[in-house]
Amino acid sequence: MARTLSNKIDFMALRKPAVIMSAALILLSIVSLFTLKLNVGIDFTGGSIIEAGYQQAVELQPIRNALESKGFGDAIVQHFGSASEVLIRLVPEADKDKAELSSEIIGLLQEISETPIDVRRVDFVGPQVGEELTEDGGLAVLYALIAILIYVAFRFEYRFSLGAVAALVHDVLITLGVFSILQLDFDLSVLAAILAVIGYSLNDTIVVFDRVRENFRKIRKKTSLEVINISINQTISRTLTTSFTTLLVLLSLFFLGGEVIHSFALALIIGVLIGTYSSIYVATTSALVLGISRSDLLLPEKEGEEMARP
């Protein structure tokens, strides 16, 4: 099938609907991020999570009652994975942010259970640490974007660089938007996934740009639009194949990796899907809108050729 794709599809003809779609998705994401916000976990807000395993299926109501009687009325109690596992989430409270809280709750759970319970996981994040993680995470994304901007500007041209970063911002915003609209748990591992999406989407974009640059130098009688169209056609089978293999492993992670990396895998799946689309449309269209043309790419000549020795 890949053999027949070359030059057959006029991708750029669809760029206007694509721009409208992207703009709509970004707008929707931003609105959702401001109104519904992200369903951020304790990594960012501070608080405690306790996961306990029972030897048999367990009712939640007695646990809730017991917690309430001890003044933990606002604790969220739910099953996690199976009916014999219980997850308790404590939102941070002004006078209660202490690591000892989880000890207290574990003691309480053990008290009301007839069989010994197995403490599977305890996460406690102090409010200040939560703030720092939020800040560091945001900075990591920002610095990654800046570093990439500089490298691409240096290797290609500033319009490509802006196009690449536009595609990345597009991917990050929409992935965040999906998490916000569906109110999925947003924890530290999802942040890591977002950063991985940046890496992945960039990879895709660079491959397309590389071909655009090569074609600008080789094909002299065509308009920028046509050159970009040819380039996308030449790289589309690679883009789809790689996205497919990556999705294969991500789906394996999603279904088999366990609860803890569930959100991580989901974020990457969303990101890879959007990243594949954006490397085809967003990155190239942005570069085109910024007025990229053949003459821009002729100066730093030979660079690509010299590198081309495996």
């Binding site: 996981r121 200040q128 610095y143 990654a144 990439i148 690679r238 790689t242 293999t245 020795r309």
Partner: protein
């Protein structure tokens, strides 16, 4: 045209495969339940080894091996049940003679000797995979500084008295020590003397109608030094405490200016670990002031006589104690809990250092027949909201646990009683042995993973890597035929190399790290996809198979390099700015990018050349 690789390239490839396989091999062997025995001061020698061997043989506990490994004595067992039985026996036997032994449960890698002699070790698993506790603890610097100012204030009082300086009062606050004088002359002469003696301090003068003050505070360099030494002393105390808990391979590391990371692999009783690590409990010995009647009247009025302070006893009744301390907890070098012979209640036997012993001897000799009190001091924290901001509030709770009449001159060793339970006595003894924290610490982050969840994470991680891996292998074989199979060889080698590199550098493998490996598997094929698509294109353009292979590889190289370098930059930024799980992910991603460049380009080319390179081919199976 032919595609041939020089022999040295094949030699290099084979060398990499052999070395990679060698260093990845330790991961194939499992772990043995083991006991790790160390002594805090002495090295363990062969005689000790003999003792423990005969102990185990007497108790009829089979062990797999017993060996000396640097400072450690390592005993391996074939079941956890035997390991636990042995732990109880060995602990009892060793602690009878010397409390400084630490007996920790451990899982020792069962790597054969021929691998370990060349430093081939299995990957270092993070706490989320092996189970354990991770604490991030913050030193309360405010009270560290306050405490050291209090010490300095005490010294200054003594110094001024020695120099016959007339001062009115010395008062300590959180930031400075304020000394009050009744005239400007007295102050100025005192300041001259003090400035000369205390070079770490800055002096600021002030006065009101009747009094003249000089405010003494640390200068910038000394303040920095105080902070540094506070955190360092806390780290060494934490190390002692962790030793007392008996944890194998703990990590206790400074992070930033005010924080310490504590990682305790395999610890199951996290509640106790938390109590012991964060505990600030210590003791003070003070003389009792005044009479019973005076205590009650002070309790009613709230005004303690000069030189004394009001305390509460364990039954809630008031007692006045002298302000000056006989000895404090940091002068205690040894402590052991037990049962008091006379009363049958729990007690703690205390050993003082020579300074403390001297002072104790002097004070008790001069005060025979008078009562002395043991004060138990503990810092507590709570969060309060002040003007919309969270403030950590510290309160110090002091309780008099025991008032007893001095019958004899006390010296180096003595007993104290009045503790509520054997557990309290045991913990207090532990804390006194391990030394006090210079400043209180709070846990600001905790991540505990139980051993069952850890094993589950390993199993699930392994399964998802394998399933994803096989899915990609199948796809590649179907889609790119012979070339796909070659790419699969490269992918397998890539996985081996990643495991080998993680093992060599002993980088911590975490669950996000496994996710990074899975992602790299997906992305590593990208390089091959790029090359193969390029070869297909060249064939479509009508080039010969050999020329297509050649230009496919050379044209794709620039693209692969660009794409991988940018991703590598992103991973480096992640590593630099991220914490814990993000870093774990970034490490495997970086290693994966580097090794996949090698296997996907160099590795596949070598095999392709071998298959097609030197013969006439009319069609490529791609």
């Amino acid at each position: 045209m032919v595609n041939r690789y020089a022999p040295w390239r094949y030699i290099l490839l084979i060398l990499v495969i052999v070395i990679g396989a060698f260093y990845a091999a330790p991961n194939l062997y499992g772990e043995d339940p083991a006991l790790q025995i160390t002594h805090r001061v002495n090295l363990i020698d062969d005689a000790e080894l003999g003792n423990i061997r005969s102990l185990l043989e007497n108790e009829d506990i089979d062990y797999r091996s017993i060996e000396l490994d640097g400072n450690n004595l390592l005993v391996r067992f074939d079941s956890e049940e035997k390991q636990l039985r042995a732990a109880t026996q060995v602990r009892e036997a060793l602690h009878d003679s010397d409390r400084r032994y630490s007996v920790a449960l451990n899982l020792a890698p069962a790597t054969p000797d021929w691998l370990t002699t060349l430093n081939a070790l299995p990957m270092y698993l993070g706490l989320d995979l092996r189970g354990g506790v991770h604490f991030l603890m913050e030193v309360d610097m405010g009270s560290a500084i306050e405490k050291s100012l209090q010490r300095a204030a005490g010294e200054m009082r003594g110094f001024m008295r020695g120099e016959k300086v007339r001062y009115k009062a010395v008062q300590t606050s959180a930031r400075d020590v304020s000394i009050r004088f009744d005239s400007a002359e007295n102050r100025d002469s005192a300041r001259l003397l003090l400035e000369d003696e205390y070079r770490d301090f800055e002096f600021v003068d002030s006065n009101d109608d009747r009094s003249w003050f000089t405010r003494v505070s640390y200068n910038a360099a000394a303040l920095e030094e105080e902070r540094r030494s506070a955190i360092e002393q806390n780290i060494s105390t934490l190390k002692n405490r962790v030793n007392e808990l008996g944890v194998a391979e703990p990590v206790i590391q400074r992070q930033g200016d005010e924080r310490v990371v504590v990682q305790l692999p395999g610890v199951q009783d996290t509640v106790r670990a938390k109590e012991i690590l964060g505990a600030t409990a210590t003791l003070e010995f003070r003389l009792v002031h005044g009479s019973f009647a005076e205590w009650n009247s002070t309790a009613a009025s709230g005004k303690a006589p000069i030189g004394s302070r009001l305390y509460t006893q364990s039954d809630g009744s008031p007692v006045l104690l002298k302000r000056s301390v006989i000895v404090t907890g940091d002068q205690i070098v040894g402590a052991a809990s037990g049962i008091d012979q006379q009363s049958g209640t729990p007690d703690v036997t205390i050993t003082m250092n020579s300074n403390g012993a001297d002072r104790m001897a002097r004070v008790t000799r001069d005060n025979i027949g008078k009562p002395m009190a043991v004060v138990f001091i503990e810092d507590k924290f709570e969060f309060r909201e002040v003007d919309g901001e969270r403030i950590r509030h510290r309160t110090t709770e002091s309780q008099v646990i025991n008032v007893a009449t001095i019958r004899d001159q006390l010296s180096k060793r003595f007993h104290i009683t009045g503790l509520d339970s054997t557990r309290e006595a045991r913990d207090l003894a532990l804390l006194l042995r391990a030394g006090a924290l210079r400043a209180p610490m709070v846990i600001v982050e905790e991540r505990t993973v139980g051993p069952s969840l850890g094993q589950e994470n390993i199993d699930r991680g392994f399964l998802s890597v394998m399933v994803g891996f096989v899915a990609v292998l199948l796809f590649m074989a179907v889609y790119y035929k012979v070339f796909g199979l070659v790419a699969n060889l490269a992918l397998a080698l890539n996985l081996v190399l990643m495991v080998a590199i993680l093992s060599i550098f002993q980088a911590t493998l975490t669950l996000p790290g496994i996710a990074g490996i899975v992602l790299t598997v997906g992305m590593a094929v990208d390089a091959n996809v790029l090359i193969f698509e390029r070869i297909r294109e060249e064939i479509r353009l009508g080039n010969t198979p050999q020329a297509s292979i050649y230009s496919g590889y050379s044209k794709a190289f620039g693209t692969i390099a660009d794409a991988n370098i940018t991703t590598f930059i992103a991973a480096m930024v992640l590593f630099g700015f991220g914490t814990g799980p993000i870093q774990g992910f970034a490490v495997t991603l970086m290693i994966g990018i580097a090794s996949s460049m090698f296997t996907a380009i160099f590795g596949t080319r070598a095999v392709i050349n071998l298959i097609y390179g030197s013969k006439q081919v009319s069609r490529l199976a791609i």
